[in-house]
Every structure is written in structure tokens, then in C-alpha cells.
């Protein structure tokens, strides 16, 4: 039992080192630029990645500002796509599963926005279709993928890839969660820093 546990933890440590810090920096810049121009952040994924997307939406909108939620500063506007199960199943049932993200995104997306796409394989058709909608309009795309990065790593502007052998969803999804928390933590520290700085003046 102990061996199993230490092996998993050792492997996790190895895999986490495959992530390029430069690409996370690129993602932070995209998010900050979107914030500055009052744009919206659309986040989506399938299965476990959808759970990560939902979690990240609430972290960006609330956790980042939670030390000072009442202060009247502009906050992030992050939204999960599609926004609810009715919309998800309507697109899936009536049009096709390929359109569950691209369909709603086509409706919402405007020039100041950015997109965060999460897909472990980086090849899910519905994810790629949505990313193509964004690319066509020159909307910046942050891609979180795993394995060999897939098509998502080719298309995204910030290519965050957790490199593993094919099928290791466990590592990829876990480390995606770490990266999304890193982003949350960065902005939390940033806005706290600004609050302290501005109160000193």
C-alpha cells in the first residue's frame, strides 16, 4: 500500500515539472489584459474538466477578491460555457454534442473577451470547435491540456500542457487544478497588494 502511494506521489512530482512556467505567465498576461478592458472570461471542459472549469469560475469571480469582497473595485467576469444543464442538453440533444461549447460561445463572445479551454487529450471535438470560433475572431485562447498537448496546444495562445503518457487523466486533471489555483493565488496576491498600496496613499 505504502509503495503504491509513494509511487503515485513521486510520479505526480515528475509530471508537474513538465509544465512550462512561461506558458502560465502568458496566460496571466491574457487574463490581466482581459480584466483591464472589461472583457469576459469564458471557461469550459468535458467531464472532470467541466468540474475544474466550474471551480475556476467561482475562484476568479469570488476567491480572488474574498479578502475584500465589499470594496467597490472592478472584479473578474468569468463564466462557464454553457451556463447550465438545460442549455448543455439542449445543444447536445437538438444539434449535437460537438456544438455544446461552440454554440453558446458563438452567441456570447465579443471582441474584448478571452477563452480558457480545458481538455486532457487536447483533442475533444467540441472543445476544438469552440476554440476555432474564438481563433476566427482573434480572441486570445488559454489552453490547458495533457498527454502530448493535442490540437489544443497547437491552437492556443497560452499552451499549458501537462505532459504524460496517453490516458493519464488522473495526473493531468490534478495538475490542471494546481495551475488554476496558482492563477487564482497570483491574482489574489496582486489585488491585495494593490489594496494595501492604495490605502497607503
Amino acid at each position: 500500500m505504502r509503495n503504491y502511494i509513494t509511487n503515485f506521489l513521486d510520479e505526480t512530482r515528475e509530471v508537474i515539472l513538465t509544465v512550462e512556467p512561461e506558458e502560465i505567465a502568458r496566460a496571466l498576461k491574457i487574463l490581466q489584459a482581459t480584466y483591464e478592458r472589461d472583457g469576459r472570461i469564458y471557461i469550459f471542459g468535458n467531464g472532470g474538466s467541466l468540474a475544474l472549469a466550474t471551480h475556476f469560475v467561482s475562484d476568479l469571480n469570488k476567491t480572488v477578491f474574498s479578502q475584500d469582497l465589499n470594496r467597490s473595485i472592478k472584479k473578474f467576469q468569468a463564466l462557464r460555457v454553457p451556463s447550465n444543464e438545460s442549455e448543455l442538453t439542449a445543444w447536445a440533444n437538438d444539434i449535437g454534442y460537438d456544438m455544446v461549447f461552440a454554440g453558446p460561445l458563438q452567441n456570447y463572445l465579443s471582441d474584448n473577451d478571452c477563452v480558457v479551454a480545458i481538455s486532457s487529450s487536447g483533442n475533444s471535438t467540441n472543445i476544438i470547435k469552440a476554440v476555432e470560433v474564438a481563433k476566427l475572431r482573434h480572441i486570445p485562447v488559454i489552453g490547458l491540456s495533457g498527454f502530448d498537448g493535442g490540437k489544443l496546444a497547437l491552437l492556443a495562445d497560452a499552451k499549458i500542457v501537462v505532459k504524460t503518457e496517453k490516458g493519464r487523466y488522473d495526473f493531468v486533471e490534478s495538475i490542471h487544478s494546481v495551475i488554476l489555483h496558482l492563477i487564482t493565488s497570483y491574482f489574489q496576491d496582486y489585488f491585495n497588494h494593490l489594496a494595501v498600496k492604495n490605502s497607503g496613499k
Binding site: A25, R37, S110, N112, H138, Y186
Partner: protein, 344 residues
């Protein structure tokens, strides 16, 4: 009938150029790769493009208002050239607004071109240019169509946004290298930075035109200016403000040696007074001959520097002299309003 078109609002940020300015002139980078390091700031040129289906003429509103019946009759060279390039002949109103005067060395004329090309492409063809394409279009307008004797750094800075190194290659291509700076360093740099408008405006083209003629005689100096870029980047990433200031100072001295029009007696006096009151280093922003003066100085010395330099400015009768507070921004040119989602 063009009633389906709607108003578009675009804005493009101004920039502070730290090192390498001048090496983005074609006369230099055609012979040797140029390089600059700059950052965009929270001051913008706003541009409104309004289709006027019921009025066939063309209106351009900037420091004056022009109303004409054909683009060729416009005095504003860039609007005229851009409308002709895109084949827009009528039914349009273009207005520009900014919180900062033009000709202050913050790159506002390039920001205008960047916003103009981004907006007009949307207006004409609903074509969304990427930041890089927008920079290229603005350079094509200014350096290509209008043969202005200027460089290419400002168009790229304003279109891309944030801290960047731009390298200008002899084949006209440009390498864009973003510098990812954490908020700690970025905020520390803001705290050390002082920016003053000298009250002297100048046309960059006039200064650069003279500087350009001398390029062949000053190749060594220009090359040295490009080599400062990686050194500055290193100090920037390390958050070593004093190190950055020393490089700025060295770069300013080098730049002054390029042409006698880059500085003058008044600018030299203002700069000296800043250094004497505790600034680590600084420079004139933009082509020179006027514009804005930048200092990096420990925050505790800011009060004294402000007082001393203001005194010096008054003595020299610079009635428009004033401080401009700035924050860095990451976003480049952006469309603030465009309600047309119909065509893609």
C-alpha cells in the same frame, strides 16, 4: 444602403520606451537588426468611427473638424491615406479623443494609426485584425503609404500591449518577445517612476528626419543602443531599479550624441535638476527635442525632485510643464464597442 453598419469605438494605449529607441528606423535596421524595450501605459487614444448613412460626405474630427466630399480633400494625411487604402469614399465620420496631448513622446501618433487601422478594417469589411496585423497595417500606413521618416516601435508597442522587446529585422519582419513581469516588480517600477511633460511639443518626424541623415556616421552608437536591450531586460526581470536607471542614463547620453536636435539647453537643465535632487537616472521619451522626461528615483526622493524640477520649469517659462502619473497596462489595441455580430 449601408444602414446595417454601426458605430465602432477603439482605443490604443500610449507607451514608454526604455531602451533602443532610434534603432527602429529603417535606415538602421536595414543594415543591422534593431531592438527596443517598451511598455504600454494607462493613457489612450480613443477613436470613434461612425457610419453616416444619411450624409454622404466624410467628417474627420480631431483638433479641428474637417467635412469634405472626397477623402482626397482631407488635410489629415493618415485618415486620407487610410480611407483611400481601404476604398472608403463616403458616409463616414471619424473622431479621435485623448487625455494626453500629441507630440509628447509617448507614441500617441502611432497609437492613433493603430486604432484607425483596427477600426476601419472592422468598419469596411468586418475584418478583425490580430494585434500583430494591426501593427503591420499601421506601419504600412505611416512608413509605406505616407513615407514618414519614423520608426516602427510605437505601432507594435500600442497594438501588442504590456512589456515587450521588439526586434526589427532587415527583411521588415519584427520579432515580438513579451516580457512576463510579476506584479511585484511591475508595481515597484511604477513606484519609482516619475514622468513629466516638459511643456515643449515637437514633431517626431522633424527630429527623426535629421537624425536619420546621420545614421551611417553613427552606426557604432546605434549598435550599442541595441545591446543595451538585453541588459535592461535582465535588470527589469530582477527588479533592480537602480540598475535600470543607470542604463537609461547611459542610453540618454548616447542618444544625445546622435543629433544635436535630440536635446537642448532647457531639457538638459531639467534633466540635471532631476539627477541632482536624487533621481538615479532617466531620459527624454520619444524622438527628443521636447516631450516627456522620465526619471527612476527612490520614492522617498520624489517630493524633492518634483519641487526642484517644477521650480526649474517655471524659471524657464514652461507654462504647460506638469507631472503625468502613469500605470502600466497589459492590453494593447482594443475594440471597446462594436455591436455588429452578424458577419464573420
Amino acid at each position: 444602403m449601408i444602414i446595417n453598419k454601426i458605430m465602432i469605438v477603439v482605443r490604443a494605449p500610449l507607451r514608454i520606451s526604455f531602451v533602443g529607441g532610434g534603432t527602429d528606423l529603417p535606415d538602421f535596421y536595414h543594415k543591422h537588426q534593431g531592438a527596443v524595450l517598451s511598455v504600454t501605459i494607462d493613457k489612450y487614444v480613443y477613436l470613434v468611427i461612425n457610419p453616416t448613412p444619411m450624409i454622404s460626405g466624410i467628417s474627420a474630427r480631431y483638433s479641428i473638424t474637417e467635412t469634405v466630399d472626397h477623402p482626397n480633400k482631407l488635410q489629415h494625411t493618415r485618415i486620407r491615406a487610410a480611407l483611400n487604402e481601404l476604398g472608403i469614399k463616403s458616409h463616414i465620420e471619424i473622431g479621435s479623443f485623448a487625455s494626453i496631448l500629441s507630440q509628447t513622446g509617448l507614441g500617441s501618433s502611432a497609437s492613433f494609426s493603430v486604432a484607425l487601422m483596427k477600426g476601419l478594417n472592422l468598419h469596411k469589411n468586418n475584418k478583425k485584425l490580430s494585434p500583430k496585423e494591426t501593427a503591420e497595417a499601421a506601419c504600412h500606413l505611416e512608413l509605406g503609404l505616407l513615407s514618414e521618416p519614423i520608426g516602427k516601435q510605437d505601432q507594435y508597442a500600442s497594438a501588442i500591449g504590456g512589456f515587450n522587446i521588439f526586434e526589427f529585422n532587415p527583411d521588415e519582419s519584427v520579432n515580438i518577445k513579451p516580457i512576463f513581469l510579476g506584479f511585484e516588480v511591475s508595481s515597484k517600477l511604477e513606484d519609482h517612476l516619475l514622468l513629466f511633460f516638459t511643456g515643449i511639443t515637437r514633431s517626431a518626424s522633424a527630429v527623426l528626419d535629421k537624425q536619420r541623415i546621420n545614421i551611417d556616421k553613427k552606426l557604432k552608437e546605434y549598435k550599442e543602443m541595441t545591446t543595451m536591450v538585453p541588459f535592461f531586460e535582465k535588470e527589469l526581470l530582477a527588479g533592480n531599479i537602480k540598475g535600470m536607471a543607470k542604463i537609461l542614463h547611459k542610453g540618454w547620453l548616447l542618444k544625445k550624441s546622435l543629433s544635436k536636435d535630440i536635446s537642448n539647453n532647457v531639457i538638459d537643465k531639467l534633466y540635471e535638476s532631476g539627477l541632482k535632487s536624487g533621481a538615479w537616472g532617466g531620459k527624454i521619451l520619444g524622438a527628443g527635442g521636447g516631450g516627456c522626461l522620465l526619471f527612476l528615483a527612490p520614492p522617498k526622493n520624489h517630493k524633492v525632485i518634483r519641487a526642484k524640477i517644477l521650480q526649474k520649469a517655471k524659471k524657464n517659462k514652461l507654462k504647460d510643464f506638469q507631472e503625468i502619473p502613469v500605470k502600466f497596462v497589459q492590453s494593447g489595441v482594443e475594440v471597446l464597442f462594436n455591436d455588429n455580430h452578424t458577419v464573420l
